[in-house]
Amino acid sequence: MNVPDTLFVPMSKNKGTAEAIVRIRLSFWQEAWLRLRANKLAMAGLIVIILMALLAICGPLLTDQSYSKQVLLDANHKPSALHWFGTDDLGRDVYARILYGARISLFIGLMAALIDLVIGIIYGGVAGYFGGRIDNIMMRFVDLLYGIPYLLIVILLMVVMGPGLLTIIVALSATGWIGMARIVRGQVLSLKSSEYVLAARTLGGGAGYIIRKHLLPNAIGVIIVQVTFSVPSAIFAEAFLSFLGLGIQPPLASWGVMANDGLSTILSGQWWRLFYPAFFISITMLAFNLVGDGLQDAFNPKRRR
C-alpha cells in the first residue's frame, strides 16, 4: 500500500469524536406511539374502535327507524333498502337496534372497565404502597376471591338482583376489579424498590417527582393495557349472560341479547338476526384485543411477542 509520507504527523485532535452521540433520544411516550403506529393490526383495531364509538354516539342520527317500534306485518324481513339489516320477529329494524345496541354494549364495557380501574387502582395502590401486613391481608382476600370462578359469581349476582342494566354493571365490576388490583399492586411493589427509584431518591427526588416521572410512566403502560383488555372481557360477559337469559330486558337491547334472540333462528334461515349482532360483538372484541396487544408491545419493546 502506498501511503504518503506527509501523513506521518500527529493527528489534530478536534477530529476526535470518541464519544459522539449517534441517535436522537425520544421520550418514552413518543417512542411507544411510534411503535404502536407501526403495528398495522393494532392501528386497524384502533380505527374499528373509533368507528364503533362514532356509531354509538351518533347512532340515532344514522337511521330514521326506531329500535323499539314493532310493525308485526314487517316481521322477519330480509335485509332490504328500507331495513338495511332486516327485521326481527317483532318487526323491529335490526339496523337501528344494532346502533342502539352499540351504545348499550359499549357503555357496559366501558363502565365496567372504568369501575374496575378505579377500584383496582385504589385497592392495589394501597396494598402495594403500604406493603407489609396490610398488603398481606388485602392480598390474601384477593387470592381467595381470585379462586372463585368469576362468571359463577356474576351469574349468582344476576339471579339475586334481577336482570337489568345497572345490575349487570354492578355484577361485572364486582368481580373484574381483582385483575386490575393485582396488576397495580404488582407494579407499585416492584417499582417502589427498583433501582432507578432508589437512585432518584438518592439524588434528592421527592415523592411527587418520583411518582410523576418514574412510577407513573411505567405503571400506566400496564394499567392502560389492562383496561383495554377489560372492555372486551366485559362485553363478552354481558353477551354470555344474555345467552343464559340473564341479560338486559326488552325493549332495550344489547348485541348480546340480539344474538341470543337470533340464535334460535339459524335453522329457520333468518341469518341476519344472528349474523349482525355476532359480527359486531366479534369485531369489537377483536379490535380491543388487537389494540391491547399492540399497546403491550409498544410499551415494552423487550417483549418480542
Binding site: 501511503v3 504518503p4 506527509t6 501523513l7 506521518f8 493527528m11 469524536t17 449517534v22
Partner: protein, 350 residues
C-alpha cells in the same frame, strides 16, 4: 494477513481474513472485520478485548453458531484439519459440534438446562456423536465427571442444575464439552462469573485436561490476569480486528500497540503506588454500524497520526511470533513521537 506460527504442521485451526456481519433494524453491523489467526495442537490461545470487540462473535463463528437469519460470514476462511468450515452444510457442521469443536459458555447457570438432569445433558452429547449404548454412555459420563473433579459422580448424574454450586456448575459445563474428546475447546469467558478462588481451580482444570488429552483451547476473556496464567499465545482484539498477536511472554514484556499498553496500564498491580489514580483508556469503542475508515483506535490514541485516520494499519512483524497492526510500527513514525518504550510500566497517556 497471516500471523506466523510456531510449527506449521501442528496447526489444526486456521482462520484467514474472517468478516462477520449482522443485519439489524438499524443497519448492518460489521462485528468482525478481517480476523486471522492459527491454533496449534495442544496450545492455548487467548483472545482478549473489551465488550463488543468481536471476540465472542469470532468464537461462535467457528462452528457457525450465530443466528442463521441475521448474521453471515461475509468473507474469509476457516480451515479445521484441512476442511473448509465455511463451505460445510449445517448438517455437516452439526457432526463437528460437540465432538471435534466444543464450546464452553460464560454463565453455567443459564447455559445449562434447568429442567433436565445433568447426567442426561452429558449423555445426550455422547449418544449423539457415538453409536454406543446408554449404559456405555453413562459410564463415560461418570468417568468424565470424575475427571473434572466432581465427587460421587453416580449420584450427581440424576441431579439438577440448581442443586450445584457455581464452581461445580462450571465443571459440569466443561464435562459436557469435553466428554467427546474434542480437538478444540472454545471457552467464552469461562471464569468471568466466578470467584477468584474458583477461577484458579477452573484454569487448573483446563491445564490438566490439556495435558491429558492434548486438546487445543481458545480462551476468550477480558481479564489479563487469566491470560497471564493460562495462555500460551494472545490475540488482542479491538473493534473487530486483531491489533496485536504475540506469545504471553512477549505481550507482557514488550507490548507494542497503544491499546495493549493501555490495557496493561489500567490493570491494578500490587506494586503500584496506591495514592495514584488508576489510568483508564479514555473514550469508548466506535460504532460498528459505520466503522471508521482508518484505525479504529485512533480516536482514543494519544499517539494518533493523520495516517491513522486515513488508512487501516498493516500487520507488522516484531518477531517471528509477535505482530502488531499499528502505524507506529512504520519506520516513518519513529520520527514523529518518542519511540515506544519497551517497558510495560509506561502508560498510554504518554
Amino acid at each position: 494477513m497471516k500471523t506466523t506460527t510456531t510449527n506449521a504442521s501442528d496447526v489444526i485451526l486456521e482462520v484467514n481474513n474472517l468478516h462477520v456481519t449482522f443485519t439489524t433494524h438499524g443497519g448492518e453491523v460489521k462485528a468482525v472485520r478481517g480476523v486471522s489467526f492459527t491454533l496449534a495442537k495442544g496450545e492455548t490461545l487467548a483472545i482478549v478485548g473489551e465488550s463488543g470487540c468481536g471476540k465472542s462473535v469470532t468464537a461462535r463463528s467457528m462452528t457457525r453458531l450465530l443466528p442463521e437469519h441475521t448474521s453471515k460470514i461475509s468473507q474469509g476462511s476457516i480451515r479445521f484439519k484441512g476442511k473448509e468450515l465455511t463451505k460445510l452444510s449445517e448438517k455437516q457442521l452439526r457432526e463437528l459440534r460437540g465432538s471435534e469443536i466444543s464450546m464452553i459458555f460464560q454463565d453455567a447457570m443459564t447455559a445449562l438446562n434447568p429442567t433436565i438432569s445433568i447426567g442426561e445433558q452429558i449423555m445426550e452429547g455422547i449418544i449423539r456423536h457415538q453409536r454406543i449404548s446408554r449404559a456405555e454412555a453413562r459410564k463415560q459420563a461418570i468417568d468424565m465427571l470424575g475427571l473434572v473433579g466432581i465427587t460421587s459422580p453416580e449420584m450427581r448424574l440424576k441431579q439438577y442444575l440448581h442443586e450445584f454450586s457455581g464452581g461445580m456448575r462450571q465443571r459440569m459445563m466443561i464435562a459436557i464439552a469435553a466428554v467427546c474428546k474434542p480437538s478444540v475447546l472454545i471457552a467464552d469467558e469461562p471464569t468471568t462469573a466466578l470467584d477468584v478462588t474458583i477461577q484458579a481451580q477452573i484454569l487448573e482444570l483446563f491445564n490438566m485436561l490439556q495435558k491429558k488429552t492434548g486438546v487445543s483451547i481458545i480462551l476468550i476473556t477480558h481479564d489479563l490476569g487469566v491470560v497471564a496464567n493460562a495462555a500460551d499465545r494472545v490475540n488482542v482484539m479491538y473493534a473487530g480486528k486483531v491489533v496485536e498477536s504475540a506469545t504471553v511472554d512477549e505481550l507482557f514484556r514488550n507490548p507494542q500497540h497503544p491499546y495493549t499498553k493501555g490495557l496493561l496500564a489500567s490493570m491494578p498491580r500490587l506494586d503500584t503506588d496506591k495514592s495514584l489514580p488508576l489510568t483508564p483508556i479514555a473514550g469508548t469503542p466506535p460504532d460498528l454500524f459505520a466503522p471508521p475508515q482508518g484505525c479504529a483506535f485512533a480516536a482514543r490514541c494519544s499517539h494518533a497520526m493523520e495516517v491513522c485516520g486515513a488508512f487501516q494499519p498493516e500487520q507488522t512483524a516484531v518477531s517471528s511470533s509477535h505482530s502488531v497492526a499499528c502505524w507506529l510500527q512504520d519506520p516513518r513514525a519513529k520520527l514523529v513521537f518518542q519511540p515506544p518504550s519497551k517497558s510495560s510500566i509506561m502508560t498510554a497517556q504518554g
